[in-house]
Symmetry: C3
Subunit: 132 residues, 3 copies
């Protein structure tokens, strides 16, 4: 099938490193070359790729996103989470990564992150593999 | 060919739900599994995926994008639409969606939107299908 | 292999037009139809698609990104480049473009840009082609 579904329990907000889960999917399918789409079906979450070494990068990103996209008194959406919807569209609900020699072709400092903007919730993401 | 072109008439700014048009392309090609790229060839528009239920989400997003990316007196581009160019690069000119069981694998609350940041105009977007 | 690696020398910050390099990769592989992923393995850089005509658009984008995502005294990451990491996640480290009739299916005014947010550095990006 080349399609995998993963579940995640999140806190109020945060970046969750899902790189090893994506790698597992690639190993399972014995894919040596192709691309891979990591996709979340939620509208107040996102997928991004960023530094995997210093956890301060993730907390700085969350801090700055909250400053850049604050809750605004003019928002009309009754659920009160419009800022989370905006972060989702800004960061984006998917990433596409190249697969080469049986592995994700990530940079040395790159990790794949699930971004929670309106938790805590049980969340899902998909990994779809397209082989060469 | 697995490539489709759609035309849209837009207002000054707004989010336009194009989910059913993308679904039609998938039905036409009888694709059961794969991925699908939705792409707009314009530089002051974008494609995003966000909530399809409450229209207040879309108006909140437009409101907040205008606050976050205002027109600035320092902008030099003579056409006067640099803020629209910035929104286009921030939201992005394409989305990639997984196809499974003959349908887009969207979340319950997800719709695919064409975002107009500098209308009114006649706009185009493409749907390209890659089958498994 | 359908996978190409390119190197780029960047300044402090800037948008670099890489469209012709991506087109060269497509010519080399004699791809008539498919998609193409342009991906950078760095966490303080990005790939975007925007106007290729007036260079003022690129300088306006850089100006506005610096205003929107300033360096903040609250940032904890010791390298001092958290703003560049945020710009990377906002613009995104890849773009997916459709290939048709042997060429990138770009809009008239669209060019593909490598975005440097924390140079000067020697940078890399990959082009991966998926044929129909």
């Amino acid at each position: 099938m080349n399609l995998f579904s993963f579940t995640l329990s999140t806190g109020k907000e945060g970046f969750y490193d899902i790189t090893s889960m994506v790698n597992d999917a690639i190993q399972t399918t014995h894919t040596s070359r192709g691309i891979c789409v990591i996709y979340t079906p939620h509208t107040t979450a996102a997928i991004t790729i960023n530094e995997n070494a210093d956890p301060d990068v993730q907390s700085d990103l969350i801090y700055a996103l909250n400053k850049t996209y604050p809750d605004r008194p003019e928002f009309k959406h009754m659920e009160g989470n419009s800022a989370a919807h905006l972060k989702s569209s800004t960061i984006g609900c998917s990433e596409t990564v190249i697969i080469d020699k049986g592995e994700l072709l990530l940079g040395t400092w790159q990790g794949i992150y699930f971004c929670e903007f309106d938790g805590p919730r049980t969340r899902k993401f998909y990994v779809k593999i397209i082989k060469d």
